[in-house]
Amino acid sequence: MTLIKETDYGTPASTSDKTVTLTIDGFEVTVPEGTSVMRASMETGIQIPKLCATDMVDAFGSCRLCLVEIEGRRGTPASCTTPVEPGMVVRTQTGRLKQLRRGVMELYISDHPLDCLTCAANGDCELQDMAGVVGLRDVRYGHDGDNHVKARDGLGEVNARWMPKDESNPYFTYDPSKCIVCSRCVRACEEVQGTFALTIEGRGFDSRVSPGMHEDFLSSECVSCGACVQACPTATLQEKSVIEIGQPEHSVVTTCAYCGVGCSFKAEMRGDELVRMVPYKDGKANRGHSCVKGRFAYGYAAHKDRILSPMIRDKITDPWREVSWEEALGFAATKLRAIQYELGKDAIGVITSSRCTNEETYLVQKLARAVFGNNNTDTCARVCHSPTGYGLGQTFGTSAGTQDFDSVQHADVVMVIGANPTDGHPVFASRLKKRLRQGAKLIVVDPRRIDLVRTPHVQAAHHLALRPGTNVAVVTALAHVIVTEGLFDESFIRERCDWDEFQDYAEFVSDAKHSPEAVEALTGVPAQELRAAARLYARGGNGAIYYGLGVTEHSQGSTTVIGIANLAMLTGNIGRPGVGVNPLRGQNNVQGSCDMGSFPHELPGYRHVNGQEVRDIFEKLWGVEISDEPGLRIPNMLDAAVDGTFKGLYCQGEDILQSDPDTRHVSAGLAAMDCVIVHDLFLNETANYAHVFLPGSTFLEKDGTFTNAERRINRVRKVMAPRNGYADWEVTQMLANAMGADWSYTHPSQIMDEIAATTPSFANVSYEMLEKKGSVQWPCNDKTPDGSPIMHVDGFVRGRGRFIRTDYVATDEKTGPRFPLLLTTGRILSQYNVGAQTRRTANVVWHAEDVLEIHPHDAETRGVKDGDWVKLASRSGETALRAQITDRVSPGVVYTTFHHPTTQANVITTDYSDWATNCPEYKVTAVQVMPSNGPTDWQEKYEEFSTLSRRIEAAE
């Protein structure tokens, strides 16, 4: 293994179809029109010296090192800013150029410290490289003149130009004394990340990189994505991990385990120590970019809280006892079999994880189906995107987004519904913002003023700030405008969709009761604004819809998904780049865990368990009989547990106690079980109710694949041995074998082969293929051997697109005098989901606790001031947290995140759920807010209980 060095072509690739031929140093080269001379030269293998150019950002032409001579032109133009022309004759190395470059380097080095040997960038410094490249031997100007390098001059006088190192960011440092003012960081922040947090302040010799208004990084607008650190050619912006450890020596390409964007990273290693994560430019989801979580927040893998030995206990009031793997698995197997003996084979089940690999998920559902002998398998996607599966399956025929992420570069109008990409899917947000800065229009449908509504250089054309719970009314009203104003694409509908169903749907939405005016009082969205948004989406060119959990986590989640699909079909925005319906998946492998048959009614590939021919495939291969009855969903399992008919659960990599709604109900269900097996990295909240704890492995410690929101199957590669001893798929296999199965997988690739052999949409997928192609988007079979970046290109998967009526039915969760406010929940950039990982990293500096956002008006009438403790109560329960007063939320709406177990936002949420899929209604809860002086009794008791429950008996 070696360190993967990606070629830096200096300037971005040109997308032109026309080509230009020129000569560089006597070699003829043909490149697309618009390519820079620098890039063309690199393509022939000649690297022109450079400092301010890098191919992640546009050319800038400031360092004057990349000068070339061009026949017939005066002077020595910069090759980065000079586009190629036909017949151009370029020389990159002449006596004059050599002298000029050396002179430039002398000036740079005269104001740069000469501490190369002790510098953190030693071995990875472009300034050092260029000094070598141009043959710098002497600096005629000396090092004693005006400089930014020394804190004091030779006489002990303070040097006013010197600035101390800024170490405020937990992950990287800014050392102004090493800065060469190449502006790469500033441009990366603007062009790649789109935050504009950096600038060059001052002018001439005073020029300095400045975060915000001469602030430190932490208090500036910086979101810590690290694009600047990656762009910096020197040690000015440097990862603290590199300062601490040193330069990496080998790297492995793998996939981030945070959100559904599925960014590719190079894990740069020294031995088995991870030095840093660097986004991989060939990664097709992220194109070389990352966010604060993926790049920096991996410290949880080595956190002291991680449990590395299996543990068991008879009762949840006992302390944990560390035991051998054999004993733990034997204990679990005996208990599970005993429950089945007593209560029947349906009394136990599994929950698969959207954070584990496809292969691991596949094995867990196989455990239920082949070893337990039932279909009691469900997944955390139940609580996030199950309505997407249902809604898109019904209308289009596949349970997945229709586009790849590159598609956004071709969108003209983007509608973001119930998603907060800058926080939840930051890398996609950066790509979206780039497109918006190029002129695409944005419509935001969200109760809260998310950052995208207005952020530097991006302003939504329309923000429909609807009342939580009225999605269906708004989406149907949008369709009403499109149909009644004749904005629909008739030829598309006639050609691709069922015309009769369209007519039925058109009749339904045309009803005046669905008009924006009629629903305004209900939704709170001004009718004119809604009409304008509908017109823009229908007639603004390529219209793309991106949506998130704000759509699905409602009692009518599935209906809204159907409504969204209807909008896309009405306007013909399906089946080509720049359009489509795109669910932004919450977790890294939500798509994959759904694909792998985690649902109780579906075998891998979304095929219903009542299909004999599908069961046949698996029955033959597994040598068992598969039940044709759908099994229990998570809420049903918990209900059954309370009833005493369900007593054993194997829960892999999900913390249902914290993430599932109505915490009290979840805890009652768990407490009623005889054998709860938690397979996780940490003693999570669910583990408080567990009898067996099986330590899990991180994404760094195993091989496998994740499938991201664009259906892209990305490889996860093992970069270090599992600290707990076994990868998660091995643990599941050992549990299966302890229960009498005879599984003998020795590598996840064999599991993928089994998936490919049984599931048509994965038919051509293999590790060998992924190795060759990097990644592939399913369906990948003989019909589409290279995968499918865009779906429904020549027609819908189900045949004809199906319009379905979307009646608005108000949720049963209603505000009233006791609970007059609506609570909606979400997440924040620096934290992820229940926070089990990110809370165990330095990301807590940005978000140390959950806070309640409340409108100034609502705060004032309750006597709540900014930062006050408030009690948040619903019909389900109550909790306390601090208030933050902001007009981001409308009056009548409050908002919080659910990253911290001490807050337990889900104590508040109710057990209402989506009519089709039981996806919980997290996004709407009627609440009251009142001043309080600290945590509630419940929080204190729970804290006490979890401390007690987490005791581990000292080993003898």
Partner: protein, 159 residues
């Protein structure tokens, strides 16, 4: 005007300036000029307000404002005397003249006399090389200066 403005007052008055000029193409520089006219300087709070109003980042506005020396952080004295320190003026004895002024006023470059009478600034070429050494008092150019003429200029600031 009172010297101590609350940040809220600064924000409000800046907001008014921005509203007047925001419809211009490339409104940032005209706004900064107006703000400087309003407050005698460009306070940090004004930059925040401008960034918010124009939908720019704080960094961007700071980058532009700090590029121009004439956008001040603090208000200047009642008069501003700029003395050229570029090559032509140096060759005609400009440095010596400048030293005399600094001594006479008892302040260094970029400083304001304690009575708030005058601020002394260096300038690198006023485009008046043919009449070196040159200086500029409150926007008015003065060329072919010698000690007497310079003394007169300084005296003028006392009025």
């Amino acid at each position: 005007m009172s010297l101590q403005l609350s940040s809220r007052q600064v924000a409000e008055r800046t907001q008014a300036v921005v509203e007047d000029l925001a419809q211009l193409e490339g409104p940032l520089l005209p706004i900064l000029h107006e703000v400087q006219k309003e407050f005698g300087c460009v306070p940090d709070e004004a930059l925040r307000t401008i960034a918010e109003a124009l939908n720019l980042s704080r960094a961007e506005v700071h980058g532009v404002a700090s590029f121009y020396h004439d956008f001040r952080k603090e208000p200047a004295g009642r008069h501003v005397l700029k003395i050229c320190r570029a090559e032509a003026c140096q060759s005609m004895g400009g440095d010596g003249l400048a030293d005399g002024v600094r001594a006479a006023l008892g302040i260094d470059w970029h400083e304001t006399t304690p009575d708030g009478r005058v601020t002394l600034e260096p300038v690198y070429c006023l485009g008046l090389c043919s009449c070196a050494p040159a200086a500029m008092l409150d926007g008015e150019l003065h060329g072919r200066l010698d000690e007497t003429a310079m003394r007169e200029l300084v005296k003028e600031t006392g009025r």
